[in-house]
């Protein structure tokens, strides 16, 4: 019985880690390529989740189909945000970039409250309640699907970064933007595309979020904080680190939820405690080196 509990919380942690990884990918991409911590990344996820909720509620579009829809919508929103707010301050001190993206984040949170009130909304499809039994553990179908799609998104991003020309350009720029410029890479265009792709990933992650969590105006902020925790755990700006960090956070939250009294309440605070512990004990993150 106890072994089954352990397996069950391991499975739950693993599945939620997939979702966290999907949320963190875009943040990692922007940080790696442009060196900017985008505080508004969570709000892109929030917009993706609301988009999914509305097309599902008003038009009946399946949330799994609107992954592409949310991704596309957020891609264009990302291009717009980059062109009119990020580009003018690329060479400013990091603190200005922090304040600007924080401003965008606060703006979008409150815009969502004004437009859609603070109600928690959920997407309930015909298959929402279904679950699969694998031996002694039960796995919700939507959770399993979101996990698989999150893994798929990660693989797609890696494929893009390592095989496609624009993706290779992004990796080059993240290594050294001056040298990239010298060999003829259009750095500005690479930044624009990286920001757009990051927002598209956030939009797709938002579609996943809407199926397994409640959608409300602050959901993006909550996920941003978890994503910061994952960045800190994995060392900033590298994708394997982000995946590793997601796994640690997902499993820790799940085990705390199972084994600590009133654990589900405490689990909400795990990410904040982890951020503080890691930054205090090992500021370079648990794996790899930190980007400067």
């Amino acid at each position: 019985m106890e072994w089954a509990d352990f397996l069950q919380s391991f499975a739950n942690g693993l599945l939620i880690a997939g979702l966290y990884a999907a949320v963190t990918l875009g943040l990692t991409l922007v940080l790696g390529v442009m060196g900017i911590v985008n505080f508004a990344h969570g709000e892109m996820v929030m917009l993706g989740a609301y988009n999914t909720f509305w097309v599902f509620t008003l038009l009946g579009v399946d949330p799994l189909l609107s992954i592409a829809l949310s991704g596309l919508l957020l891609f264009f929103i990302g291009l717009f945000i980059y062109r009119f707010t990020i580009r003018p301050i690329l060479n400013d001190p990091p603190l200005n970039q922090l304040l600007l993206t924080l401003g965008i984040s606060i703006f979008l949170q409150n815009l969502a409250m004004i437009l859609w009130k603070t109600d928690s909304r959920s997407v309930l499809t015909a298959y929402s309640g279904m679950s699969l039994s694998l031996g002694e553990i039960n796995v919700g179908l939507t959770r399993l699907l979101t996990f698989l799609i999150a893994v798929g998104l990660t693989l797609l991003l890696l494929l893009f970064l390592y095989k496609a020309r624009p993706g290779k350009a992004m990796r080059a720029v993240s290594e050294n933007n001056t040298a990239s410029w010298l060999i003829g890479i259009n750095v500005q265009k690479t930044y624009l595309l990286a920001f757009g792709v990051a927002c598209a990933l956030a939009g797709a992650a938002g579609a996943l979020v809407s199926t397994v969590m409640y959608t409300f105006p602050m959901v993006g902020f909550k996920l941003s904080l978890k994503a910061f925790c994952i960045l800190v755990l994995g060392g900033l700006g590298n994708i394997p680190g982000a995946l590793f960090g997601s796994l640690i956070l997902g499993l820790t939250e799940s085990f705390v939820g199972t084994y600590v009294p009133e654990g589900s309440g405490w689990a909400e605070g795990i990410s904040f405690i982890l951020i503080m512990i890691i930054l205090i004990i090992k500021p370079t993150g648990l794996v790899g080196t930190r980007r400067e």
Binding site: T85, L99, Q109
Partner: protein, 312 residues
């Protein structure tokens, strides 16, 4: 930095002081309450600016504010300590928290400090929600009205604290601390080479900032008579602490004060017109200031408006 005393400079200050001292006689209850909330916000804004002078952006002032608020409320609940002493205890607790947190995280690059401060405030909110027997949990804690509900006395108390805050900022600005803080903000490595220990000064600035923020928190818990974790540890307070000085203009005495008045007026207007999300103005202000007026309203005044009158 010697300053010679001149009547031309002192007269407006004396008039201003006379006005704020006489204000409770002139204002009705609503405007008295409004002045108190404005002063409280000015204290938060000015004390955030003290830390910002070393180049550090705290996004978790609500953590310190909430510690001050809860220390005062819990002490009152247990021992019926005099509220003003409770506020002072809240301020000291916030200073201790800032010293610990600052010592551990102000060594790191700015962005990590900012992220840690958010995590700090949010972690406190979770801890408070999960330990209701000690903290009152989500239901919050209540205290009896301050000075038996006498708002005039509350006004003078918060005014005294505001004057102390401004005096502290003035002291920092007119002593060697100003050079140390500015050097650290402009270039930490160079400051280090010049013999300034950046971490020490940053922690010092954070502690001074925490003292006034914590005191203001204690005042808030007694004045408001009711506090809940979601509010006093909330993102809203942390954001307002930084938007007001940034809008007014950083690293000045008047900037944060002026910024508070402008932001509060906008906020009061929006609070009446939209039921949710009146902090949308905060986000918009941050974006516009960073993009178009990096020195805030004070910068626009100095660089754009004053020259118009000087040429003629």
């Amino acid at each position: 930095m010697k300053r010679s005393f001149s009547w031309k400079k002192a007269l407006p200050l004396i008039l201003l002081l006379g006005f704020v001292l006489a204000y409770p006689r002139l204002a009705d209850a609503y405007f008295l309450h409004l002045a108190i909330t404005f002063f409280l916000a000015m204290i938060l804004a000015s004390s955030w600016d003290i830390l910002a002078r070393t180049g550090q952006v705290s996004v978790g002032q609500a953590g310190l504010f909430g510690i001050g608020a809860y220390t005062a409320a819990i002490l009152f609940k247990w021992t019926h300590l005099s509220p003003v002493l409770g506020m002072a205890a809240g301020a000291l607790t916030a200073v201790i928290a800032a010293a610990l947190l600052g010592y551990l995280t102000l060594r790191l690059r700015g962005i990590y400090f900012s992220i840690t401060t958010i995590a700090f405030a949010e972690a406190l909110a979770v801890i408070w929600l999960m330990t209701p027997s000690f903290t009152g949990g989500a239901m919050g804690l209540s205290t009896p009205p301050l000075f038996g509900g006498d708002r005039e006395l509350a006004y003078y108390l918060i005014l005294a604290l505001l004057i102390m805050t401004v005096a502290a900022v003035w002291l920092i600005q007119s002593t060697r601390l100003n050079y140390a803080f500015t050097a650290i903000r402009e270039n930490e490595e160079v400051a280090n080479v010049m013999g300034i220990d950046p971490t020490r000064y940053k922690v010092l600035a954070f502690m001074v900032s925490a003292f006034f923020t914590g005191f203001a928190g204690g005042f808030y818990s007694h004045y408001n008579t009711y506090i809940i974790p979601y509010e006093v540890f909330g993102l809203g307070i942390s954001i307002s602490c930084l938007v007001m000085p940034i809008f007014g203009g950083l690293y000045t005495i008047t900037g944060p004060i002026l910024g508070t008045v402008l932001v509060k007026v906008i906020e009061e207007y929006l609070r009446v017109t939209v039921s949710y999300g009146h902090q949308i103005a905060y986000g918009l202000i941050l974006v516009l200031v960073v993009l178009f007026m990096p020195e805030g309203v004070m910068g626009v005044w100095r660089n754009r408006i004053l020259p118009l009158f000087k040429h003629s």
